[in-house]
């Protein structure tokens, strides 16, 4: 469910792209410092976006030079630790842990063993993060439980299922300042809705093969993995309506250092991602992202 929220890189200015990369590296270092190698492995674009949103009205960013595995021989310019990065790192650990627990309970065979190992590795980082952000931890647990109940009941409403994940993500707005919390809540709600539905669409083939619950299949009564044009357009419409609402919310956030990048992500990155997911050509990019086999196979 990760890696859907990213900029449309060709439309970024070079300086904006370098900033974005520095933020990505900054979050990676933050995860490494606070939660060790296991924490670092869960780095994803979605939480880079979140840290940029939580930046607040600050119009600057401190940079420093760091070495890391991909940049072993030449130090890279990365964002220095900032409150927004710390919070985003903690949140991503909490979410990754509960997703891993979910996977462990749902899967069978070799996959179960694998996800059990992931759970064990994330246990300690999770304990630390949950101690720091108990409110977010609680809301993630509640929402994933809610989602689980809807999945078991084979919920036919796409919105009802997406609502749980959207509310989960929008609870991350609790870390924002008073002035922008309401706006961020709405923005993250719709980003969460988009991610959930797009991910469901991308997983259609796999879910139908394994007989798992899939909200898109349940909503449109699909039994074959290739939906007809009408279904595809209906999904596109509902996703683009969410993009509209996310964009309207984004316009109300105070301008910050990251505004050019976040605007690119919402106005261009999300629609582009939607086009690719619906065309079946979406590949969760970035070799540094956690490899998820079911996401890697959508490119056919």
């Amino acid at each position: 469910m990760f890696g859907y929220v990213r900029p449309l890189v060709p439309e970024l200015k070079v300086k904006e792209f370098e900033r974005f990369r520095a933020c990505y590296c900054g979050l990676c270092h933050e995860l490494g410092r606070e939660y060790g190698a296991a924490g670092r492995s869960i780095l994803n674009y979605d939480f880079v976006f979140l840290s940029m949103l939580l930046w607040g009205g600050r119009d600057s960013c401190d940079y420093c030079h760091r070495r890391c595995l991909p940049g072993l021989f030449r130090k890279k310019c990365v964002c220095a630790s900032a409150p927004a990065l710390t919070v985003a790192a903690g949140y991503s650990v909490i979410l990754a842990y509960w997703k891993a627990v979910d996977n462990r309970d749902d899967s069978r065979g070799a996959k179960k063993l694998l996800s059990r190992a992931v759970c064990l590795l994330l246990k300690r980082p999770y304990k630390k993060a949950a101690g720091l952000y108990p409110a977010f931890d609680k809301s993630v647990r509640e929402r994933l439980d809610g989602l689980h109940a809807l999945e078991t009941a084979n919920c036919p409403s796409l919105d009802r299922a997406a609502d749980q994940f959207a509310l989960l993500l929008s609870s991350a707005s609790g870390a924002a300042g008073e002035d922008s919390r309401r706006v961020l809540e709405q923005l993250l709600y719709h980003v969460g809705r988009i991610v959930y539905i797009a991910d469901a669409y991308a997983d259609l083939r796999e879910d139908l093969k394994d007989g798992r619950y899939n909200p898109v299949a349940a909503r449109y009564g699909l039994t074959a993995a290739s939906p007809d044009d009408g279904t595809r357009e209906s999904v596109r419409e509902t996703l683009l309506s969410s993009v509209d609402l996310a964009a309207a919310a984004l316009a109300l956030l105070p301008k910050s250092y990251w505004t050019p990048v976040t605007e690119n992500i919402v106005l261009l990155g999300l629609p582009d991602m939607i086009d690719h997911v619906l065309a079946g050509t979406y590949v969760t990019a970035g070799k540094r992202l956690p490899k998820r086999p079911q996401l890697g196979q959508n490119g056919e």
């Binding site: 919105d159 609502d163 309401r182 419409e237 509902t238 683009l240 309506s241 309207a248 109300l252």
Partner: protein, 206 residues
């Protein structure tokens, strides 16, 4: 009060033309039409007011300073907000109450009222659609709007709502690399749609 130049995002040495351009862009961005039925519409209205005031302040001070000013266009602004939709006649008082509850963001109450309604007519479907739109449940909202339109195809308000769900008048569409589509201009038809959309939910809030 904030520095009016900062509000418009221009330098204090900017020409009148530049200021007007910046103002127009912002006014387009925060226009009430983009926030119809949006839970954040009050914030957008505030922002719009801020922009209007800043623009007025600048044009006034420049006029007094002896500089030529080509004020006009939007200068009267949208600061007055939406008019109360006086033309709207509501026969059913329960529906009127639900409408104002949705407008006020009191969604739980509106949902209870709608659940207890005995009839499931076009208006009921339309209000359900509005409620779900406000909640962000856009797929269900669309289904309800569609049902409202099919039950009463002559109602312009229902049709506008459905058009809005289909992205008509959205300022954010068609900017990506997706399937090519023509860039949205603003012809009379769009304006008309936009005004009707703005008027759509005004019925209950008088």
């Amino acid at each position: 009060m904030q520095d009016p130049y900062k509000v418009l995002g221009v330098s204090s040495t900017a020409s009148d033309e530049e200021i007007k351009k910046a103002y127009r862009e912002l006014a387009k961005k925060y226009h009430p039409d983009n926030y119809v039925d949006n839970p954040l519409s009050d914030l957008a209205q505030e922002k719009m007011k801020e922009i209007n005031e800043a623009y007025d302040t600048i044009t006034r001070s420049r006029k007094n300073g002896g500089q030529s000013s080509s004020s006009g266009g939007y200068s009267s602004g949208y600061s007055s907000g939406w008019s109360g939709g006086s033309a709207y006649q509501q026969a059913n008082s329960a529906y009127a109450q639900i409408r104002s509850a949705i407008n006020a963001g009191n969604l739980q109450y509106a949902e209870q009222m709608l659940d207890s309604c005995p009839t499931r007519d076009a208006e009921w479907n339309f209000l359900m659609g509005s409620l779900y739109y406000r909640k962000g449940w856009l797929d269900d909202a669309r289904s309800f709007f569609q049902r409202a339109v099919s039950m009463d195809p002559s109602n312009g308000e229902y049709r506008q709502a459905l058009n809005m769900m289909n992205g008509a008048g959205s300022p954010y569409r068609q900017t990506g690399y997706g399937p090519p589509a023509q860039q949205g201009g603003c012809d009379m038809c769009d304006m008309c749609t936009a005004m009707m959309c703005a008027n759509m939910m005004c019925g209950g809030c008088r």
